[in-house]
Symmetry: C2
Subunit: 209 residues, 2 copies
């Protein structure tokens, strides 16, 4: 009915060129968010690509395989985790556990970071991911016991509580529960005086992926 030129197919503007390292990092960040939300197998390389604003084959091109991408995400995540812990270690020994706890909560501000970790920790049976996940977990444990100087008991409690926090965030408890349902009580114990901060980090709407 009308001219051909008027029905423009909206050229899907190619992503602007970027230094490889920069692009790599932005894809890792996107992948972290998506893996965190949909777990390893539930994530497609296309999800990641769209979250990062690049094409699906390019994601594969840069990282080789989806699995390698996931392993790269893991490395980066644990690196950030330990870095955050180390950064929190200045100050007097008395309040250190508290500060480390807060450092941990700070990591919630990166979408999917802790949930990607949790996802990896469930894949111990995978022949490639499993060993990597165990190694990373052991690194964290060793860090707490040696570098951070925590006693076994303290480190145990610290880790436990971290895992529960991960669970609550993975469950998206904040999005669905109101002030009732008893969950708020638990939330308060897990992240005292930080409920609002935490809730803000949880994705509320449907994501692009």
């Amino acid at each position: 009915m009308s001219s051909v030129t008027s029905t423009l197919p909206a050229t899907p503007l190619p992503a602007p060129r970027m230094a490889a390292d920069e692009r790599r990092e932005s894809i890792l960040a996107a992948a972290t968010a998506v893996f965190g939300a949909k777990s390893y197998a539930g994530t497609t390389t296309d999800d990641v690509a769209r979250a990062a604003g690049v094409s699906q084959p390019y994601v594969v091109r840069l990282f080789g395989t989806k699995q390698k991408l996931f392993l790269a995400v893991l490395d980066r995540t644990v690196g950030k985790l330990l870095a955050a812990f180390r950064a929190s270690m200045a100050g007097d020994a008395e309040t250190q556990p508290t500060r480390m706890g807060e450092a941990y909560l700070g990591l919630l501000s990166e979408r999917g970071l802790l949930q990607s970790l949790s996802a990896a920790f469930l894949l111990g049976g995978d022949p490639e991911i499993g060993p990597a996940a165990r190694a990373h977990f052991a690194d964290v444990w060793r860090f707490l016991r040696t570098e951070a100087g925590m006693g076994a008991e303290t480190a145990h409690l610290f880790l436990s509580q971290g895992m529960l926090i991960n669970t609550l965030v993975g469950l998206r408890v904040g999005t669905e529960y109101g002030a009732n349902s008893g969950m708020t009580e638990l939330f308060d114990l897990c992240v005292p005086d930080k409920v609002d901060v935490i809730l803000a980090q949880i994705p509320t709407a449907t994501e692009p992926w």
Copy 2:
């Protein structure tokens, strides 16, 4: 070269007829193991079928969709969890937390039970699984606080430690780590005097799926 009758194609013996309920339960058990090992998205209905010794379409036929199967697994799992807790409640109040902890550890003897739960707890963002997972989690919390009469602090600690145990099992820590690596220390704190029992529950070899 030889007679036709001698090269038997090994008729893949059809599963013996079973009452629907019985078959349903055996598929649920198989599905629990597989979902626990490979997470929701990583599990195929064919994995489950083979673990249960039936055909893939039959699994779908009985449960409608993979998702419904997973939700059924969740129901069953939480049912077993609460049942085990309730069963442990007889006796004096003093040692009750200990007995509940032991009841929890007892659940490790069913392959994948706690790991399926953990997997579900990571899928809070899923439009159908998320709400179900939150509801189940809330049920457990309410149980601890009301029926089991735990204080908020106690319940919090109890849950935390449960989540860490789930993590360790999901990681298959026992399979890969020997007496070194520091993990044994943590293991001992998580499941005192039960290390061997726990390790025995962790699948060691390649499974049929």
